[in-house]
């Protein structure tokens, strides 16, 4: 692995994705190291605050894939843009 970047993200999972192994695929398919710091996963909804380490390109592809799957991907602060 070359240069790695670290991201702190909050993922929010809608109901239809709760039963899918999203995080497993993120690690396996994009070669990203994750560290889950806090999470709350219920039967119909869930969120996860995690740290991701990986090559910059891999992280971008991973985030893009998460969004395409329907996962809401936010920075750990969530809304940085304030009205």
């Amino acid at each position: 692995m070359g240069t790695t970047t670290r991201l702190r993200l909050r993922l929010t999972f809608p109901t239809h994705l709760v039963q899918e192994p999203i995080v497993y695929r993120l690690v396996k398919d994009f070669d990203i190291v994750i560290n889950i710091r806090r999470a709350d996963v219920k039967a119909d909804h869930g969120w996860m605050a995690l740290e991701l380490d990986g090559e910059p390109g891999a992280l971008e592809r991973g985030v893009k894939w998460l969004k395409e799957k329907g996962v809401q991907v936010d920075p750990i602060e969530r809304d940085v843009i304030s009205p």
């Binding site: 605050a49 920075p75 009205p83």
Partner: protein, 415 residues
């Protein structure tokens, strides 16, 4: 007086020294300022507060500022108005308006949080302050940075209307328009805040910044003669303000400054088109489902509010509730406040008035109890919300007879 213990994680309780940091390194929970209330008791009194300036800084002992106030000396201590005309219209006995639409200098309650953040930025030795904002926060940061002779970077989505940025540009900040989707701009700003280590007021200074909102609550209590109202209705965007008003009441109670019981119920007001916190309250769940904002209440349009969970908890803890307002109800709320009390609020104020009316009409708020409605921004900044909705001109030729006729016509219409 040593009044601060530093910062503390709201989730895991881990302690941190006072520094420009906002996230717990262990659980990624939000950090909050930790006060030494034992040192403040008996030192902060009604008299010591009354001896302070007629601004939010009369509560400086209860704010996370160690040295002198750097900027915003005249922020706060806005009018608390007994709104009898509005009360009559709503069929209530006692209604008050806490009017931050006239907060100095940039006409919104954001001046309170920014004055604390920029003062703290000076204490930490920063020479640059920053924020990402589409409205009131941008105005306030640019204004306070100008006053404090600090450099400022304001990030905005590139598609923001020109009219909205003039009230920021006038203070001569470096305005950075970012092309991209809302999510892309949002994430980029998080990364910029992380990389450049400027004083990003609502990111790395957030624990200090958010404390400024407490002064809104302190003022309500002091201006009511050191008593608390039965009900406070608060507009919610990120959800911080409602939690900080409640924190202010708890602090004053703990310091022995409030007469009688503090049984205030806190209510969240949001737009129907962006109301994830009120949805939590109505569904009685601590799960916040993010939404895509679609409302005229732009100053409340935060789809995934960072303090949403804490706002929900505040309404639960106090026995309050929440209510949504549709765009039509928001406009009606703005117009109702204007024609009854002569106050022109922004759409967020329309949300709060509309939500209050619904909470009263549905019997959630009893008509005979004291009610405080939080008005947090000025309508003159965003008059576009009313374009095309008001048309009451009487047009006449320049003659007295034309006016006499017009007046007669008006009388016959209203007879």
């Amino acid at each position: 007086m040593e009044k601060l213990n530093g910062l503390r994680c709201r989730e895991c309780g881990r302690r941190y020294p006072g520094a420009p940091v906002h996230v717990c390194e262990f659980c990624f929970g939000p950090l909050e300022v930790d006060y030494r209330y034992d040192a403040l008791k008996g030192v902060v009194t009604r008299e010591s507060i009354a001896a302070g300036p007629p601004s939010m800084w009369r509560y400086k002992d209860l704010l996370p500022v160690d040295g002198d106030v750097a900027v915003g000396h005249h922020v706060g201590f806005t009018p608390l108005i007994r709104a009898q005309n509005l009360a009559d219209e709503l069929g209530c006995r006692e209604v008050w308006i806490k009017n931050d639409s006239v907060c100095h200098p940039s006409w919104s309650f954001k001046d309170r949080v920014v004055a604390v953040a920029v003062t703290k930025a000076r204490e930490f030795g920063f020479d640059t302050v920053a924020c990402a904002s589409t409205g009131n926060l941008a105005n306030s940061v640019a204004a306070h940075a100008a006053e404090g002779r600090l450099k400022s970077f304001i990030f905005i989505p590139a598609d923001l209307e020109q009219g909205k940025i003039l009230a920021t540009l006038v203070y001569n900040p470096t305005l950075v328009a970012v092309h991209g989707t809302y999510d892309e701009v949002n994430r980029l700003c998080s990364e910029i805040a992380d990389k450049y280590r400027w004083a990003f007021v609502n990111v790395n200074l957030r624990p200090y910044y958010s404390e400024g909102s407490k002064t809104y609550g302190f003022e309500i209590v002091e201006q009511l003669g050191w008593r608390t109202p039965a009900h406070i209705i608060v507009p919610c965007a990120g959800g911080s303000l409602i939690t900080k008003i409640w924190k202010a009441i708890k602090e004053l109670k703990a310091l022995g400054l409030i007469d009688g019981p503090t049984a205030t119920k806190m209510y969240a007001a949001q737009a129907q088109g962006c109301g994830p916190i009120v949805t939590m309250i109505k569904n009685d769940t601590d799960v916040l489902v993010p939404v895509r904002p679609s409302t005229i209440a732009k100053s409340l349009a935060i789809g995934n509010p960072a303090d949403g969970y804490y706002a929900y908890k505040t309404t639960k803890e106090t026995g309050g509730y929440g209510e949504h307002a549709t765009d039509e109800e928001i406009i009606d709320g703005m117009l109702l406040l204007a024609r009854t009390e002569g106050i022109f609020t922004e759409t967020a104020g329309g949300v709060t008035v509309a939500a209050t009316r619904k909470l009263i009409e549905t019997g959630v708020i009893p008509r005979h109890e004291s009610i405080v409605i939080c008005i947090t921004g000025n309508g003159l900044k965003t008059p576009d919300a009313l374009y095309g909705r008001l048309d009451a001109h009487v047009k006449i030729k320049p003659s007295l007879s034309a006016f006499d006729q017009a007046l007669a016509d008006l009388k016959s219409q209203t007879a």
